[in-house]
């Protein structure tokens, strides 16, 4: 059995067939997981500039670049093991560098609220065993975490939900479009206007407290019907997707307010990268913040230390990227700043970022070629084991060796 590192569900019931040192077949993985486990076609080669060199030389060069940097930044680590993340935080501390991950433009706000216990939350196993009302809000789990519905939330039989989805569970989707998740929720799909999440929450809170909800252009009856379902729920879960997070990011507390009105409900942010929550937890334990931290005499958290702002303001001169591809995932207006700085890329595969990097260090695929631990989207610690011997170094070892050389 292997643990899949395709997304933050960390499915631990995967079987693989290995032939001649390569994975020939995967069983029980979704398409996303199969792609991750079977590995990439273009493996990254160790290089400095255009020159192919030894990995040891790459690590030395990376350490030299970081040591000489005026304002270095470490970014990524959401596709790295927890051990590597701890090393990354230590390295940032040693270099007085900025450290950030993709959660600064993803679910960081929500995870922080979970870690600060502002949201009532629960485990995915609790949801499987007890949940009778499940809300996907601004989340298309069916496409982003394909096994979420079949493994934990809607379809499986649970200890207290023996009739499963047919009779015991109600799945609700609240979204701006009819996503694949919404198609499964069928009669319980609530389409809201763009950026209408906050108004919808307020209307829902009105309905829950017995007032007539106000929402221009929306069928009030539907909101009352939804509030009726929520009131009757014995164990509910709200899966807050990136759509909801982006829409209410300036006032995320409103979701906590809604949570307080629904004492049987639990809130869980839907996380994409397999160990994003692990990074948030590791940095939170060390500094009290989940992302965008600058180390110095004491760690400081500010939005201007997020990857988007540092690139926009061009306030860094060296960027170490591990397991992420900012050139691909950030808007071009921001990502073009990468051209003006030295980039060190640690990744198993060739990425857009690796193509413009000064130093490329190939890494093992965690969960396939090297083991470790990771944190599932609900906070459960999961062990990862290696199933293939590739000879590549893991992120943890690469970062450890960079730290020794700095």
């Amino acid at each position: 059995m292997v643990t899949c590192t395709g997304c933050a569900l960390l499915c631990d019931d995967i079987e693989v067939i290995v032939e001649a040192g390569r994975i020939k077949e995967t069983k029980n993985t979704c398409l996303r997981g199969a792609g991750r486990i079977k590995g990439c076609v273009n493996r990254l080669v160790p290089s400095i500039g255009e020159q192919r060199v030894d990995v040891g030389n790459c690590i030395e060069k990376a350490a030299e670049i970081l040591k000489n940097a005026e304002s270095p930044m470490l970014f990524g680590f959401d596709n790295s093991t927890s051990g590597a993340q701890v090393k990354a935080v230590q390295l940032a501390n040693k270099l007085d560098a900025i450290i950030d991950d993709t959660s600064s433009f993803c679910q960081g706000i929500m995870v922080e609220k979970v870690l600060r216990q502002e949201f009532r939350t629960c485990s995915l196993d609790d949801i499987r065993n007890k949940a009778d009302v499940i809300i996907y809000w601004g989340s298309d789990a069916q496409d982003s975490q394909p096994r979420h519905l079949s493994r934990f939330s809607y379809f499986p039989r649970g200890e207290e939900r023996q009739r499963g989805y047919e009779e015991d569970r109600t799945a609700i989707a609240i979204d701006v479009r009819e996503s694949n998740t919404a198609k499964i929720c069928k009669g319980h799909f609530y389409r809201i206007p763009l950026k209408g999440d906050r108004r919808f929450i307020l209307a829902l809170m009105d309905a829950l407290s017995g007032r007539v909800p106000k929402f221009d252009g929306y069928d009030v009856q539907k909101i009352l019907e939804l509030s009726g379902i929520l009131k009757k729920a014995k164990f509910g879960a709200i899966f807050a997707g990136i759509g909801l997070t982006y829409s209410i990011k300036d006032d995320a507390g409103i979701l906590a307010d809604l949570g307080r009105m629904l004492p049987n409900f639990h809130i869980m942010p839907m996380i994409g990268h397999y160990n994003m929550r692990g990074f948030n937890e590791n940095l939170f334990r060390e500094t009290g913040f989940v992302n965008s931290v600058k180390f110095g005499s004491e760690p400081v958290h500010d939005n201007r230390y997020s990857i988007a702002e540092t690139l926009r303001e061009k306030s860094i001169d060296v960027l170490l990227v591990a397991g992420s591809d900012p050139l691909l995932s950030l808007p071009r207006s921001i990502a073009k700043s990468l051209a003006g700085m030295q980039v060190v890329c640690i990744d198993p595969c060739v990425t857009l970022t690796s193509k413009i990097s000064a130093v490329n260090i190939p890494a093992a695929v965690s969960g396939v070629e090297c083991g470790g631990t990771a944190v599932r989207m609900d906070g459960k610690k999961v062990e990862l084991s290696a199933c293939v011997e590739s000879g590549f170094l893991g992120d943890e070892e690469i970062l450890g060796r960079i730290m020794e050389a700095v």
Binding site: T29, Q142, S150
Partner: protein, 152 residues
């Protein structure tokens, strides 16, 4: 999928009984349920029916890969989410400690399995749409948002 009338319109409509059925309409019904093949109608193999035969073949093409219950899995649409594995009542009954609770199947009695991110159907004779007491079950079609499973 074509209707019986669509198929009937393309047949010779002579009720010649050479196929063993009493009428061309009865043959069209058998053709749709894949109990007979186009070749069983000998008159349509003649040159004068060439266009009609080609149209019939193109209409029946989508059901070519269908199993005994008429199930077709469109692998190009499947994302391997496993909803069908967990929702299938046969899988739930045959594997209560595995597929029924959302985990990987623990035995070979299940109908659906996911390999390389694509669902594969086996044990098709266990399907509720198969056999004498078959029922029109939709348990694997309904949970599939991409429409990867179809019965013809």
């Amino acid at each position: 999928m074509p209707t019986v009338m669509e198929l009937y319109q393309l047949l010779p409509k002579t009720n010649c009984k050479k196929c063993g059925e009493s009428t061309c309409m009865a043959f069209a019904v058998e053709l749709l349920s894949r109990k007979k093949k186009i070749q069983d109608c000998t008159p349509i193999l003649e040159d004068k029916f060439k266009n009609q035969r080609e149209k019939l073949e193109s209409l029946l093409l989508p059901s070519e890969g269908a199993g005994e219950t008429g199930m077709i899995v469109h692998t190009e649409l499947c994302t391997g989410c496993g909803n069908c594995v967990v929702a299938c009542p046969v899988d739930v009954a045959n594997d209560p400690g595995g597929a029924a609770i959302g985990c990987a199947p623990t035995n070979d009695k299940v109908i659906f399995k996911v390999v390389d991110g694509k669902v594969i159907a086996s044990n098709i004779r266990e399907c509720r749409r198969f056999g004498k007491n078959r029922v029109l079950c939709y348990a694997c079609i309904d949970p599939c948002p991409t429409g990867a499973i179809e019965f013809v």
